[in-house]
């Protein structure tokens, strides 16, 4: 199983901190899973100009191809101006229609205010749904107060991340099995 952790912002450290913990926890619990962390702060990704993702070179090509090859994507995002960051939206814009078909997507949000709780529900999930992802419905919402010196200090958050990982892996395995059974029935 290939899991890509996508840290969706160039600004700040909270999302990256949470994604680092998530990656570590996946590796411990599922050592056979192939995980890779893409922190968009570390890549120079172009804005989408409408071409097919296979036609991008460099960082843009690497990021899009890695996502397209994944079985599951864990998206980490802060909330900027009551929405997801443009860096993250650009990734979706770079990918084809139906890009997330047969992939599981799960969400981890970091935010400066609890008032942003429903933003992933109202803004991120519709995008993932449009792109045909199987969405892990329960997401993890982490606030400023849950961090201290680049570590998550709230045990409740850590438990919730562990559950998110488990749900992501179990759903990916389940959907893969369902799809394989359905496709085997076609006989081609």
């Amino acid at each position: 199983m290939k899991i890509v952790l996508l840290s969706g912002s160039k600004v700040g450290s909270k999302t990256r901190t949470a994604m680092d913990y998530t990656k570590k926890a996946i590796t411990e619990k599922y050592p056979n899973a192939q995980t890779s962390l893409i922190d968009l702060a570390e890549y120079d990704v172009e804005f989408s100009d409408g071409r097919n993702y296979l036609e991008y070179e460099g960082d843009t090509g690497y990021v899009t191809k890695t996502i397209m090859e994944a079985d599951a994507i864990i998206i980490g995002t802060p909330i900027f101006q009551a929405s997801i960051p443009a860096t993250l939206k650009n990734i979706f814009d770079l990918l084809p229609v139906n890009a997330l078909q047969h992939k599981v997507a799960s969400i981890l949000v970091t935010a400066g205010s609890s008032k942003h709780y429903l933003i992933a529900e109202n803004q991120l999930k519709p995008i993932l749904g449009y792109m045909k992802a199987q969405i892990v419905q329960t997401y993890v919402f982490v606030e400023e107060q849950d961090f201290h010196r680049k570590e998550i200090t709230n045990d409740d958050v850590l438990f919730r991340i562990d559950r998110l990982i488990e749900d992501t892996v179990v759903l990916t395995e389940t959907y893969t099995k369902i799809r394989e059974e359905k496709e085997a029935a076609y006989g081609f």
Binding site: N52, E55, K65, N98, Q101, K182, Y186, G187, F188
Partner: protein, 353 residues
């Protein structure tokens, strides 16, 4: 229709086309040489002619996984290997070329082939050609509209005075050579959605429509929009031919066809577009109402005639050499297509529409 060299009395024109895709074998990962692929495109045209098919098309691309960048050259080689089959570009990316040069090339091809050349022009669905020749995707629409305007003018006037944004102006210019009968059929390639069909209708050009998969009825909206717009623009839409283009796989029975074809279709989509062909969408091919042309000869006949009821098209061309399909299979398909499918289609469409 005579202007476009279509004779309704002969029934629907049927043919093959290739995009010259050059991808690896889905099972072994091996890829044939460019040399061999190029020769096979010509050999396939020869087989199509020998089998009595009407049309052969070669479509242009300028990027990895494709080798048909110089379509007039390939068509010229085919012209000298054949005598009767019509030679069309399917399509020429006019947006990234000079209409004068395109016209010169196809007039030349027309003379060399004794009047068999046709231009199918489009905007291209891939980015490579724009990047290679330094065109900006921002001008996607304007490039084509300006160039098609000039191309049509070159086809209808002897001395051309013209000016535009993307090419130096022409002042009383004359183009040599002229096509055999003075004019070339020039079609507009349309990707499926009504927007570009409407543009074709507005300027009264024949429409060459790709309908690869999904419900066949969806493409009827595009065909209807085309005819409606042409009529509104003052053209007699009954005189404007429509061609349908798609991919096809034939085998003796439907189960074998479905099973054998999937890896190649999926390979085509995976390598060229980066998205696999979903099996559930593919499974819909068993319905006569679905546009995916895979099945037994009888199924393909039913599908083509079902589409004919919807679109009333004058030409139907299929791609049978994509995704690294072996040449032996291509040969078998041409044989089966020509002996079992084509006669039934011609019989059913002769003299009508």
């Amino acid at each position: 229709m005579e202007e476009f060299r279509i004779n309704k009395n002969n029934g629907m024109e049927i043919g093959l086309y290739t995009l010259g895709d050059h991808v690896s074998d889905p099972r072994t990962g091996e890829i044939m040489s460019e040399h061999r692929r190029m020769k096979e495109m010509v050999a396939m045209a020869k087989l199509a002619e020998d089998a009595g098919l009407d049309v052969y098309g070669v479509g242009e691309s300028h990027q990895k996984h494709f080798i048909a960048s110089s379509t007039p050259t390939i068509l010229a080689a085919i012209a000298s290997a054949t005598e009767k089959i019509k030679l069309i570009s399917s399509s020429t990316v006019l947006s990234a070329d000079d209409p004068v040069r395109v016209y010169e090339q196809f007039s030349t091809l027309d003379l060399l082939s004794d009047g068999r050349a046709e231009i199918v022009t489009g905007r291209g669905s891939r980015y490579g050609v724009y990047e290679l020749f330094g065109y900006d995707m921002k001008d996607f629409e304007e490039l084509f509209e300006e160039k098609i305007d000039l191309l049509l003018k070159l086809n209808s006037e002897q001395k051309i005075t013209w000016s535009g944004k993307f090419r130096p102006a022409l002042n009383d210019a004359e183009i040599f050579p002229k096509p055999l009968s003075g004019k070339l059929p020039i079609w507009r390639a349309v990707g499926g959605k009504p927007a570009s069909a409407i543009k074709a209708g507005k300027i009264g050009m024949p429409m060459h429509l790709a309908a690869l998969y999904g419900a066949s009825s969806v493409f009827k909206h595009t065909v209807d929009a085309y005819h409606r717009t042409a009529t509104e623009a003052g053209f007699d839409s009954a005189k404007l031919p429509v061609a349908m283009a798609t991919m096809m796989y034939l085998d003796k029975d439907s189960q074998t066809a479905l099973k054998e074809y999937y890896p190649y279709l999926n390979n085509t989509f995976t390598q060229l577009r980066g998205t696999p062909f979903p099996k559930d969408r593919y499974a819909e091919a068993t319905s006569v109402k679905n546009a995916i042309m895979v099945g037994s000869p009888q199924q393909i006949i039913e599908k083509i005639l079902y589409q004919y009821e919807l679109y009333g098209h004058q030409r139907f061309i299929v791609q049978i050499d994509h995704g690294n399909l072996p040449f032996k299979k291509i040969q078998e398909m041409i044989e089966m297509f020509a002996t079992e499918v084509v006669p039934a289609i011609r019989k059913a469409t002769k003299g009508s529409n």
